[in-house]
Symmetry: C2
Subunit: 310 residues, 2 copies
């Protein structure tokens, strides 16, 4: 059996996993990132957490063929360089080369969303799919596209305008998919609805939960609130709009939805499928629409599996 190292360079934690060629994690470890420290020092902790994962896996280091790193921020995958990672304060960091030297194996660097997408295709919600689009509805809208178990690198579908001259996006454009469909977008819409109906069930739910999250509107709808139901329907219209754009363009076999909002499961997916089906271009096959299943493990598995062909 051959083994691969997968690393997820998060703003809070550094995680490492040892993954076999079936895409199963057989040992892992994590450590706080300590993002305030210089990049060279954080890298030493990446080495440390990798060694710990190797130890936990019981694998002989000689059987480890390659490693994959998943990092957020601006990445030059071809050259293994993190160009900018604002959360970690990294700049022009030739991390793949340094890691390769340390463990004497080939190392690939991938965007963390791309790595997670590959993980879902290898071992998770899109297992076995010829092509899959993974959309993460979190602080932003992340996107990863995988064809024939290979990452289509660096797509930023969250910054696809679906409402020209619409809501301001952090990227400088207006009306991006992300401005409407991220958890942040939904929270903003929930706030607007609450100001409109300050005495409704939605407002009460937000109050009793202590803060407005991406869940609030779903919880209020469960209590029968009509305004919440209308808002969810509006949200789903935006989400379906963006997804149909991607389905018309890329024809993925599977669309996997991840991030906080995906925790709503069938409450989200069931009406979403109906809306998508009604709009997909004639002749294009309706993809399976599911939720991601691997959580943080997707990033470890995907990063490791991206290193298979090095």
């Amino acid at each position: 059996m051959e083994y691969y190292i997968g690393v997820d360079i998060g703003g809070t934690n550094l995680k490492a996993g040892i993954v076999n060629s079936y895409g199963e994690i057989i040992g892992e470890a994590d450590i706080p990132t300590g993002a305030e420290r210089p990049q060279e020092i954080v890298l030493q902790d990446i080495f440390k957490v990798v060694r710990e994962a190797i130890k936990n896996s019981g694998v002989n280091q000689n059987d480890i063929k390659a490693a994959g790193l998943g990092s957020p921020g601006m990445i030059d995958s071809k050259n293994g360089i993190v160009i900018r990672n604002y959360n970690l304060g990294w700049k022009d960091f030739e991390i793949a080369k340094l890691m390769s030297k340390e463990f004497n194996i080939p190392v690939t660097l991938e965007n963390d969303a791309d790595a997670a997408a590959l993980g879902e295709v290898i071992s998770g919600s899109a297992k076995g799919a010829d092509s899959a689009m993974i959309i993460t509805l979190g602080t932003g809208v992340g996107s990863g596209f995988v064809i024939n178990e290979k990452i289509f690198r660096g797509c930023e579908w969250g910054h696809m305008v679906i409402v020209k001259d619409g809501k301001k996006c952090t990227c400088g454009r207006n009306g991006c998919f992300e401005s409407y469909c991220s958890a942040t977008g939904l929270i903003n819409m929930t706030k607007e609805k609450i100001s409109e109906f300050p005495n409704g069930i939605l407002a009460e739910t937000a109050k009793s939960e202590g803060k407005i999250t991406g869940r609030t509107v779903f919880d209020a709808a469960d209590k029968g609130d009509e305004n919440a139901k209308i808002l969810i329907d509006e949200y789903l219209n935006y989400l379906a709009c963006g997804l149909v754009n991607l389905i018309n363009g890329l024809q993925p076999e599977v669309v996997s939805i991840g991030g906080g909002i995906a925790k709503q499961g069938e409450k989200l997916l069931s009406p979403l499928r109906e809306k998508v089906k009604a709009e997909v271009f004639g002749g294009i096959k309706m993809p399976k629409i599911v939720t991601c299943t691997l959580g943080y493990k997707a990033g470890l598995i995907g990063a490791a599996m991206a290193a298979r062909n090095l």
Copy 2:
């Protein structure tokens, strides 16, 4: 030298070209389609026009390795079947198999826009590009995406919504890229502007030209008409919006614009590049934006070159 047959199955004409492995047409022929006839009869004329092209090329038929067919409509490329071609009245036509039998060579069937995109990458405006997006601004908005000289099959980016709940599109959605950026879309906007300003230079230009085309507004702008200039600016905003979406998502090295509107050349491209540059996501490289150069030959070359790896 190895040679390939490329066929373009148009609603008006059937065209065939014999293409060498450098992507050069060395003999061609065409014949009216006679679309009102049964598909089996039209196919006999495809065989005829191919034989004529072979004769014109002077190539020995034994040196022809494979053939590619470019067809509009709904295509099952994998199985070589035209599922539906409304212009020609074709239905479930196993054309690749029949053509393969006739000439005793492997045959591939591609969407005509995809074939033309590959042609532009092999021999035209996007020659040598690792990845290229070809957008055709004609009756509709056609799209073709080519990576590493391979067609990414069947993308329908013309039916990407950029204005949610916007103008009605022929596909059933509202606010598609095509509804705004096709020649048809521009003509509709020109008509609206003329009803708004029935005595302006734009209205006069339309009158003197006998009908409103995609050119009319550009001609009026040349005469100094402010309303025409405003309309062109609006049109370019929509076009830039759609293109930036695709650039953020697919990161093509080259974007080639074809179709009637592309005849405006730098008058179109120069302001378009400025608008695109202002909106592309941080860290994504600005692609070259050019016009297609091969005309109808793109479809012949691309169809033939799609057959190279059979």
